[in-house]
């Protein structure tokens, strides 16, 4: 089945079985390996991407449903060669150890901060509750997101003033 979709702002095309997973489309013909597979059953969240603005598990979305859709992956969170504040904070504040859960965490955290620029720690934990991490104990991930939220708010304030 021929599917046309926008990926990270660029119009792309794939030709795959309609039930092939969006995850396999991304990691295969679309050449974007930032999105990871940890469980293949929608439990770990390491395959999270934005689909039409909403965070979803790419392992649970058939490519056949993606025709005409817009997908944003971790590669699309910042311009090439740059780190978005969320990404920089994750690196700086110990939010990433082995890094396998990090792309999915970033998508979940980005989704949160777009709607809620000043989250509480519990709100952060709720937003990333579908992203399993085995390395960090989550504490530093939560701190990283809070730091990024603060930084983004300061930038906004600075820009406004």
């Amino acid at each position: 089945m021929k599917v046309a979709l926008k990926v990270n702002g660029v119009q792309r095309h794939v030709d795959m079985a309609p039930l092939a997973r969006l995850l396999d489309a991304l990691r295969g013909p679309l050449g974007l390996t930032g999105t990871k597979e940890g469980c293949g059953e929608g439990e770990c969240g390491s395959c999270a991407v934005f689909l039409d603005g909403v965070p979803v598990n790419a392992c649970l979305v058939p490519i056949g449903q993606c025709d005409g859709c817009e997908v944003v992956t971790v590669e699309g969170l910042a311009a090439a060669g740059h780190l978005a504040p969320l990404q920089a904070c994750m690196a700086e504040h110990g939010g990433a150890q082995c890094g396998i859960c990090t792309p999915g965490m970033l998508i979940a955290a980005e989704a949160l901060l777009r709607r809620n620029p000043d989250p509480t720690p519990v709100e952060v934990r709720t937003a990333i509750a579908g992203n399993l991490c085995r390395c960090t104990g989550y504490e530093r991930i939560v701190q990283s997101v809070l730091h990024a939220a603060h930084e983004l708010r300061s930038t906004e304030k600075g820009a406004a003033e």
Partner: protein, 663 residues
């Protein structure tokens, strides 16, 4: 590598199939039928120990260890020890058990292998490239230079990628050889869960004798571990288990017996802690019981008996220096207000009960006894143009920060900026064998030779440097004049380390890291769900080269211990795993995890790099479970000695104790 006449566990590999077309491969696998005659099987360690059905060796027993001290060292040691134990004021006996745990790294095991004119190549998710290298030498009868093993970026290991990757790599290489094509073998989650190694289940029987005032005297322990169908790492896991069985306490008389037996389950293997979490669970829960019997607080009992300068351990190792345990107790108790909260008793509000509990523990860094001497771990540091250094070691970064910390150590030792240091990808073609990335040895042992090698390079440059000349210019001149500059350094354990492998006595580890956990929990009196509300810990890490990463290790390990305690459970039926998926193997989410308050304590280790760093990555795994169990006991008055503390088990234990109370 492949089962020949006997299949000894449900997930033992029997045949290998490869194909370029994934769909065709799936059809081929589905078309394979196995003609297998069932044999009597044993799935339980206690049953195996009885030896009625022999499935391994003569008696199913793979290894035994015996640690003795004091009265137990006498000629009639066993009788003398019994007498000493019975002569104590208060004797307490208990049984404690722990269950399988799956590492559940978020990236599964996988390897890619291919052959070319240079020999055989394998790249994959692994912890120990030279383990795979060694396996290939034996399996394919090749010379060292013909084998090229490289670590790919690895999404978590925790011990689960210490030995198993060798098997996958050999499988892929065999298929690659036969097919003449590169072969990729990546386990899906179900395969990984079913076939790869897990934490050894254990059953400990503990009997202690102490004075009426709580001074500990005699410790008797029997440690039984379930090895699974093959030996693999079980002797070493059992060894570390028994070596940590005395906890961090002073004992006058000790008799610790360890035994590992085979069962028809997938071989168990390395998982953070490596035997110590199992015996630490037993000794900590046991001392909680002793404290209850004596009517004193468990934290006070543990603090009172803590090993200090000049004291000797259960293996008669006399401890000198780098003993931060007491400071950890003080700081963890202060931060959590443990003493006052314990004294106040459980707080019941509506249908919720809150309690607090602690654990105190230590973990030996590096390989036991003469292990490091036998390993002869090596590291190379090269001087490159422009004053740059490259660190070449076999230590892998699996999330614990090896790459960053080695760069820090080298930069500091050489007096250069960290941006001038690169750490080579661990490939056996390029890096020397530094020993495996296990046993909390990467920073403490391998880091110390990174430090020496970097210092050596810097000294060479300094020797030729002219006044006012930069390091880079002097280095370039040195290279131009004398050719490539490499410092190759081999690890030398401290000379005073004296370990008797036959009697299992002496300096088991050159140094121990210390930790105290305090957990505050809330138990729902209707559903028996346990929430860890807060978690404090203080850990003596020797020297925190990267404080943030240190805390990250302590917190990550603590959450793995909490998961092991409260929700993780491998469910078996006739030697098959019923829940080999993330859906039904329950690790904590961000909502289940408590906020962690982590305090770093520094009691530097004289031989540790960066000013005295000790190995700490396994340490946090040892104590989290017993801190949580102690807190649950404080909250609802039910003492659980067998993991996991699922709501179902807590409910059953509470119902039992309620009906006993009624009677």
């Amino acid at each position: 590598m492949l089962a020949a006449e006997r299949v000894n566990h449900r997930y033992e590999p029997v045949a290998l199939v490869a194909c370029a077309d994934k769909a065709k491969l799936a059809r081929a696998v589905a078309a394979v039928t196995l003609d297998i005659e069932p044999l009597p099987a044993v799935f339980d360690a206690e049953e195996s120990l009885l030896g009625r059905t022999v499935i391994w060796g003569e008696s199913n027993v793979q290894n035994r260890y015996l640690i003795t001290k004091g009265a137990a060292d006498a000629d009639d040691g066993e009788a003398a020890f019994e007498a000493a134990l019975r002569a104590c004021d208060v004797v307490v006996r208990g049984e404690y058990s722990t269950h399988h745990q799956e590492q559940l790294y978020i990236e599964t095991n996988g390897m890619v292998a291919w052959w070319d004119d240079d020999g055989v190549h394998a790249t994959g998710s692994l912890q120990c490239p030279y383990y795979v290298h060694k396996a290939f030498k034996r399996c394919f009868h090749l010379e060292a230079e013909q084998i090229h093993i490289t670590q790919a970026v690895t999404g978590g290991g925790f011990g689960g990628k210490e030995e198993y990757p060798s098997l996958i790599a050999m499988h892929a290489a065999l298929l690659a050889k036969k097919s003449g094509r590169p072969v990729r073998m990546i386990y899906d989650r179900v395969e990984d869960f079913e076939a790869t190694t897990k934490r050894h289940p254990s059953r400990c029987i503990v009997e202690t004798g102490c004075d009426a005032d709580g001074t500990l005297r005699a410790l008797k322990m029997r440690v039984l571990m379930d090895a699974g169908a093959y030996v693999t790492l079980s002797p070493v896991v059992l060894s570390r288990g028994v070596l940590h069985a005395g906890g961090c306490y002073r004992w006058r008389d000790v008799r610790i017996e360890g035994v590992s037996v085979a069962t028809n389950t997938p071989p168990n293997g390395a998982f953070r802690g490596f035997g110590a979490p199992q015996t630490t669970w037993a000794i900590e829960r046991h001392l909680d019981a002793v404290a209850r019997r004596l009517g004193i607080d468990a934290g006070e009992l543990k603090r009172k008996n803590l090993l200090a300068e000049g004291d000797s351990t259960a293996t008669s190792q006399v401890l000198h220096g780098s003993l931060g345990g007491a400071e950890c107790v003080e700081k963890a108790f202060a931060a959590s207000d443990y003493v006052a909260k314990r004294r106040r008793g459980p707080i019941v509000e509506g249908r919720k009960a809150r309690g607090i509990g602690c654990s105190v523990f230590m973990h030996g860094g590096g390989f036991t006894g003469s292990g490091e001497r036998m390993l002869k771990g090596k590291v190379a540091v090269d001087l490159l143009l422009g004053g740059r250094l490259e660190v070449r070691s076999a230590s892998t970064d699996i999330g614990q920060g090896t790459e960053t910390i080695f760069a820090q150590i080298a930069a500091d030792a050489a007096g250069v900026s960290i941006s001038a240091v690169s750490v080579a990808v661990p490939s056996t073609t390029r890096v020397p064998d530094s020993g495996p990335t296990v046993a909390s040895r990467t920073v403490m042992v391998v880091g110390s030779i990174v430090e020496r090698a970097a210092r050596e390079i810097a000294e060479r440059v300094e020797a030729v440097r002219r006044a006012g000349e930069s390091f880079a210019a002097a280095g370039d001149r040195l290279l131009a004049q004398e050719g490539p500059q490499t410092a190759l350094v081999q690890y030398e354990p401290p000379a005073w380390v004296n370990w008797d492998d036959k009697r299992y006595k002496g300096d088991a580890y050159p140094v121990y890291a210390w930790m105290v956990d305090v957990a505050e929990v809330e138990v729902d009196l209707d559903t028996f769900e346990t929430r860890v509300l807060e978690f404090w810990s203080a850990a003596d890490v020797g020297k925190a080269i990267h404080p943030l990463m240190c805390k990250g290790q302590l917190e990550g390990g603590s959450l793995q211990a909490i998961g092991w305690a409260l929700s993780e459970e491998v469910v078996w039926k006739d030697g098959a795993i019923v829940n080999p998926r993330m859906t039904n193997y329950i690790i904590p989410t961000a909502l289940d995890a408590p906020p962690f308050h982590t305090i770093l304590v520094e009691a530097p280790y004289a031989h540790g790099p960066g000013g005295g760093a000790k190995g700490i990555s396994e340490l946090p795994m040892d104590g989290g479970a017993s801190a949580v169990a102690a807190a649950v006991e404080h909250a609802i008055g039910v003492a659980i000695d067998h993991l996991p503390l699922t709501p179902e088990r807590l409910f059953a234990a509470w119902a039992r104790s309620n009906s006993e109370a009624a009677q």
